[in-house]
């Protein structure tokens, strides 16, 4: 598949951390698409920093007992290795309900992503919410589909 034909994806960090726990779940299968270059994935310094911080957080480490510092670093580096790093991402969208999601929205806008994949209710609501902010998001970024991993896999298996 050519670069032009591949979906252009931004993954929320909750998908990636879930993928670390299980190869066979929807998030793990999304990671397989990255491994096999089925999708074009984008990251920024901000999204990589959050991924690293979340993987290293004590309660996450407690749930993922096999995760040590070296494995975290190898996972993050592998992800960065398979993705395209966007160094300068302008801030273009305010989302007061979930400020932590703004770097993902900004990145998706900067790369003209086809999909923003997340398990986070705040992000997923942007696709369907009748609030002003949801409508504004869909008006400004009509080409970005915000989907959970299951919906994303369904779209990409057709």
């Amino acid at each position: 598949m050519t670069d032009a034909a591949r979906p252009r994806i931004v993954f929320d960090c909750n998908v990636l951390v879930q993928a670390a726990s299980n190869a066979n779940g929807p998030s793990g299968r999304c990671l397989e698409l990255i491994e096999h270059s089925v999708v074009e994935v984008y990251v920024s310094r901000a999204t990589l920093k959050e991924l690293r911080a979340v993987l290293a957080y004590p309660s996450v480490r407690e749930k993922l007992p096999g995760l040590d510092d070296q494995r975290i670093e190898a996972f993050v580096q592998r992800f960065a290795f398979r993705a395209t790093l966007i160094r300068d991402v302008p801030h273009v969208f305010d989302y007061p309900r979930a400020r932590q999601d703004e770097p993902y929205i900004d990145l998706a806008a900067a790369v003209e992503a086809t999909h923003l994949v997340s398990r986070d209710r705040d992000l997923l609501d942007l696709a369907t919410d009748h609030s002003l902010i949801g409508k504004e998001f869909r008006q400004r970024f009509p080409r970005i589909s915000v989907l959970d991993p299951v919906a994303f896999l369904n779209v990409n298996s057709k």
């Binding site: 670390a20 996450v60 070296q70 670093e73 592998r78 992800f79």
Partner: protein, 84 residues
């Protein structure tokens, strides 16, 4: 574990040491993780993590809760960094 010594020029060693310090790790661990990232698949890197998670009996929802807590802590820390 067998060990082999390799030679790095001064510039690369200093760059690796600086990056390792930023990440809270050692230059050796940082360089090892780079080699793993370039040569191992996600499945190979994550196999022990996935085995341990399956054996722990924790669920996706348990992990979602931990991730949400971690993200909130990260957000608070980041907004504190911006203010300071």
């Amino acid at each position: 574990m067998d060990m082999t010594t390799i030679v790095l020029d001064d510039r690369r060693f200093k760059a690796a040491a600086k990056k390792a310090e930023e990440l809270g790790t050692t230059p050796e661990e940082f360089i090892n993780s780079l080699i793993d990232a370039a040569t191992l698949t996600f499945d190979e890197i994550l196999a022990p993590v996935r085995e341990a998670f399956a054996a722990s009996g924790a669920t996706e929802e348990d992990l979602d809760d931990a991730i949400a807590e971690a993200r909130e802590a990260f957000r608070k820390q980041s907004s504190g960094d911006v203010k300071s």
